[in-house]
């Protein structure tokens, strides 16, 4: 079973898009629950995305890519 990791909703409307600013984990890397996976930013507001569960990360967007709020950025299996 895999868990989806989504770009957080950071604006009131929740339908803006932002940037996957920095990946801190490689594709296929093992992570612990709570570990920082990425920094994301919408305009000049940034936020951390942490792992909701432990497991193996599969990244689905590239660093510096524009991503819609709520879109899947990785799965953890």
């Amino acid at each position: 079973m895999s868990t989806e990791v989504r770009f957080p909703k950071m604006t009131d409307a929740g339908d803006s898009s932002g940037v996957l600013a920095t990946w801190y984990v490689e594709d296929g890397e093992q992570v612990a629950a709570g570990q920082v996976l990425a920094d994301v930013a919408v305009e000049k507001v940034d936020a951390e995305v942490t792992a909701p569960v432990a497991g193996t990360v599969t990244r689905s967007v590239a660093e510096e890519a524009e991503v819609a709020e709520g879109a899947v950025i990785a799965t953890i299996a």
Partner: protein, 360 residues
């Protein structure tokens, strides 16, 4: 004030953190420099109740360059203290706390603001240990943001480590990597001497600023120190040595990688601190390659680059090494982007200096 209160080294029950190998093991968790810095401060606050943070916007805002993000939530407003815009008052407050045995980390938001509070810094923080005949120590960290490159103008873009290094009594620490940022901050907090900890905004890896890939790197989760005063050979080379620090390390490594393909072998020495200055490492790299280029984002005249030239001239092993420098010419940092990038030590200027050195 009791004798023990005057001497926190004797009173402290906190063992110093270990020195780890500089290269972390493969698979070590990665952080940007800002998170590495936060982790060092948070970990030392957990370990020692005498450690606290104070400054403008260090609390809810988390430091304007994210040096203190998350600390208010973890430690509360008595240990993560937002101050008014009154640098003389809160730096003086930090000095008072330090001489009473606490270990304050006081953030001066931009180093450029030192002008309004310099008496506290260089007449008190730096001199109390000396003027008390060695009886009173000041185990304080003055943390401050330096550097330009993002159009913030002449009063928010300076480096100024040479100014602080010129005045006796303060260690001056200038990290370039996440690994060093954590280890040097841990060392600074555990030091019984006043430490000026100068982080360049451009090495922090912040999402909203242009970031070099080298501002994200492996950082061990355990506590460790990077010894203050020990330079690091960031890259081995044989043709020319770049002696540098802070963001200019990243630029110099980028240039070295590019020129490797042309058969030009560049050694890069990351000083990591200006006081103490690792003169042995400077002499050693000069003796190895015979050519030294100092890359320094501080002003050119009367500063670090001249001090390095003097070091080379004073030591027989390095005397006669070819010498040049890539610094900020002696002008205020311009606001206009084209003008600012004309004075900064950019990769293009560094590359030109390397080519001139190996051609000469």
């Amino acid at each position: 004030m009791s004798v023990t209160a005057q001497n926190p080294a004797a009173a402290g029950a906190h063992a110093p953190s270990p020195v780890l190998p500089v290269e972390p093991e493969a698979g070590t968790r990665r952080l940007n420099t800002a998170k590495a810095l936060q982790e060092a401060i948070g970990s030392q606050m957990e370990a020692n109740p005498e450690v606290f943070v104070m400054g403008e916007d260090v609390g809810a805002y988390g430091g304007i360059f994210s040096s203190t993000t998350g600390l208010l939530d973890r430690f509360g407003p008595q240990r993560v203290i937002d101050t008014p815009i009154s640098e003389t008052a809160f730096i003086g407050l930090g000095i008072g706390a330090a001489v009473e045995g606490m270990r304050p980390i006081v953030e001066l938001m931009f180093v450029d603001f030192f002008g309004v509070c310099m008496d506290q810094i260089y007449n008190h923080m730096a001199k109390i240990h000396y003027e008390s005949g060695g009886n009173v120590r000041v185990p304080m960290v003055l943390m401050t943001a330096t550097g330009g490159g993002y159009s913030d103008g002449a009063q928010h873009s300076q480096s100024l480590w040479g100014t602080f290094a010129h005045l006796p009594g303060m260690k001056v620490v200038v990290p370039s990597t996440p690994y060093d940022a954590k280890g040097l901050m841990t060392a600074a907090i555990q030091s019984d001497d006043p430490v000026v900890y100068m982080f360049h905004k451009g090495v922090m890896g912040l999402p909203w600023m242009a970031k070099n890939k080298r501002s994200i790197g492996a950082v061990p989760e355990q506590d460790y120190i990077v010894p203050i005063g020990k330079a690091r050979v960031a890259r081995e080379g044989t043709d020319v040595s770049i002696v540098t620090l802070s963001l200019s390390v990243h630029h110099s490594l980028d240039v070295a990688e590019k020129l490797e393909g042309e058969g030009i072998s560049v050694e890069v020495l990351d000083l990591r601190s200006v006081v103490p200055l690792d003169r042995e490492a400077i002499v050693a790299t000069a003796a190895k390659t015979g050519r030294v280029i100092v890359v320094d984002e501080d002003y050119q005249s009367f500063g670090l680059s001249g001090e390095i030239a003097a070091t080379l001239a004073e030591n027989a092993a390095s005397r006669g090494a070819a010498f040049s420098r890539v610094c900020v010419p002696d002008v205020p940092i311009p606001y206009a982007r084209d003008l600012e990038y004309a004075v900064l030590p950019t990769p293009a200027r560094i590359e030109a200096a390397v080519r001139a050195a190996v051609a000469g």
